[in-house]
């Protein structure tokens, strides 16, 4: 009996220490990201949604602590997942009020990562749950799956290059769910016959949308005016 009790107590301590480790790891990543007070990045954005035909466009991304974020297209019209692109690492880490739980390990883009479940303590937070895939050696978030109250679940995958020291990605792939799109031909005044009905596999594929942003340059900690975010 004593033996079982000892194992139970030991496992509690092990679980508790593991939980602390995850908070520590998350705080380390946050500390790295905290080095960035603001940035202005230039890149190219590709919108890949089955029912959207859009060319690649140049974008400017602005961030300022604690959670100001703006994505601007260089002229023209931009299509972004609803409430989505503003969900990024900086906004997730804007709060310190969270619980970080270990959820194993996983391989993301050939990199071994720790899987961390991040639960905000504040129940008014729009983010319900974030699962982070953290490269422990380099303190980089490789992938993030965020579930929000208003706009469903987003998956953000990141790859890093020369700005890895600030925890800023070179490429971000933002995946989200889309709804069906169809307008009556009477409204669009199209006379041609109906397209062939989609297979179930195509329908599932079509419900996933992606926005890819490839950054060419970052200007970090150069100071940004708040007017940029209006």
């Amino acid at each position: 009996m004593k033996k079982y009790l000892l194992i139970l107590v030991a496992s509690f301590f092990w679980m508790d220490s593991d939980g602390q480790d995850m908070t520590a790891l998350v705080m380390k990543v946050k500390a790295k990201l905290d080095l960035v007070k603001d940035y202005e990045a230039e890149g190219k954005m590709k919108t890949d949604v089955s029912f959207i035909k859009a060319p690649i466009g140049k974008v400017h991304v602005y961030f300022k602590k604690p959670n100001l974020f703006k994505l601007k297209k260089d002229g023209g019209i931009s299509l972004l997942p609803k409430g989505g692109v503003t969900v990024n690492m900086n906004t997730v880490f804007a709060t310190t009020d969270f619980v970080a739980l270990a959820a194993g390990e996983a391989l993301v883009g050939g990199v071994n990562t720790k899987v961390v479940k991040l639960l905000p303590s504040n129940e008014n937070n729009d983010i319900v749950l974030t699962t982070m895939y953290i490269d422990e050696a380099n303190l980089l978030v490789m992938k993030m799956v965020t579930t929000t109250k208003e706009n469903g679940t987003y998956e953000i995958q990141m790859s890093y290059g020369q700005f890895a020291k600030y925890g800023l990605p070179d490429k971000v792939i933002f995946s989200f769910n889309t709804k069906d799109y169809k307008l009556p031909k009477g409204i669009t005044l199209e006379f041609e016959d109906e397209a062939k009905p989609l297979t179930e596999a195509q329908k599932i594929k079509n419900k996933k949308g992606r926005v890819e942003i490839t950054y060419n340059s970052y200007a970090v900690n150069k100071g940004l005016n708040d007017a940029v975010f209006k």
């Binding site: 890949d48 859009a54 931009s78 299509l79 609803k82 989505g84 307008l183 199209e190 016959d193």
Partner: protein, 291 residues
């Protein structure tokens, strides 16, 4: 021949009826511009309600290119009526006034006579389209500015870059000229069979309305005849505003989704024009002119 065309153009542009079409286009476009300038955002919100449920659209959607597309979509269905007003009056109007027989006493061939009248009605059609282009494209560009063009199709949406649009409009107006010339040639053909203008004008419009309804109805039994109706091909100008995508779903700037479909539609319309004109010449050459 040139003198004959000049005389016919003089006759067309001397009549007040001719300017009804120009005034109508001006008023209609001015009304659309006024409405969209005043409450365009509500119109855009209404149009975008399906897509904004999953996407946020940022930018100036209601720009000159967008307003021009909306205008053309509405007007190019009704412009045939304005063209029929003149084209369907070309021969019947002369017959009604009793000048047809008199004119044919002059030493000109019937073929030249009818070709001159046809060319004059085509010139009128083109001038009406140029007026439409000035009002719908250039004035809207001035009033609303220019930006990317965001188009809602029945199955998907298309986003065209600002510098990839103007050339599409030029081609679209060129195509519309072909479509409207088809209407003019039909009205012209009908004008051979009556001695007053009302009949041919109403007949031309009836055919266009009837065929347009058949083209719009998505009933399988009608789908087989749709490709043979010229009204199905009259909206081919819209194809210039559809863009190709590569395997990675990136739109290819400067491309057209179905150039083959445009050529096919243009060919069908051209064959109709030639057919209607040839029929007009043949019928007129054998016609017993009594008025």
């Amino acid at each position: 021949m040139w003198t004959l065309i000049q005389i016919e153009l003089f006759k067309i542009f001397r009549r007040p009826r001719t300017y009804i079409a120009f005034a109508a286009i001006f008023s209609l476009i001015a009304i659309i511009q006024f409405g969209l300038k005043l409450d365009g955002d509500s119109y855009v919100d209404f149009m975008m309600r399906d897509i904004t449920s999953s996407l946020t659209i940022e930018g100036k959607i209601l720009n000159g290119y967008q307003v021009c597309y909306i205008t053309l979509q509405i007007l190019l269905v009704h412009v045939p009526l304005l063209i029929a007003l003149v084209a369907a009056d070309m021969i019947s109007g002369e017959a009604n006034m009793g000048t047809l027989r008199f004119m044919l006493t002059r030493p000109i061939s019937r073929t030249n006579f009818i070709l001159a009248k046809f060319i004059a009605s085509v010139v009128y059609t083109l001038m009406l389209l140029i007026w439409l282009a000035i009002m719908a494209l250039f004035v809207n560009m001035l009033l609303f500015g220019t930006d990317d063009l965001f188009l809602l199709k029945s199955q998907y949406v298309v986003l065209l870059k600002r510098d990839d649009i103007f050339w599409r409009y030029l081609w679209a107006f060129g195509f519309a000229a072909l479509a409207m010339t088809t209407v003019a040639s039909l009205g012209f053909l009908f004008s051979l069979f009556a001695e007053n203008s009302i009949g041919p004008i109403v007949a031309t419009m009836s055919v266009i309305i009837f065929f347009t309804i058949l083209s719009t109805l998505n009933i399988p039994v009608f789908n087989t005849i749709k490709p043979f109706l010229f009204t199905t091909h009259m909206i081919g100008w819209k194809e210039f505003f559809d863009i190709k995508v590569n395997d990675a779903n990136e739109a290819i700037v400067g491309s057209i989704q179905n150039p083959g479909r445009i050529w096919q539609s243009a060919l069908v319309l051209f064959v109709h024009i030639i057919g209607f004109l040839a029929a007009s010449v043949l019928i007129f050459k054998k016609k017993d002119i009594l008025s």
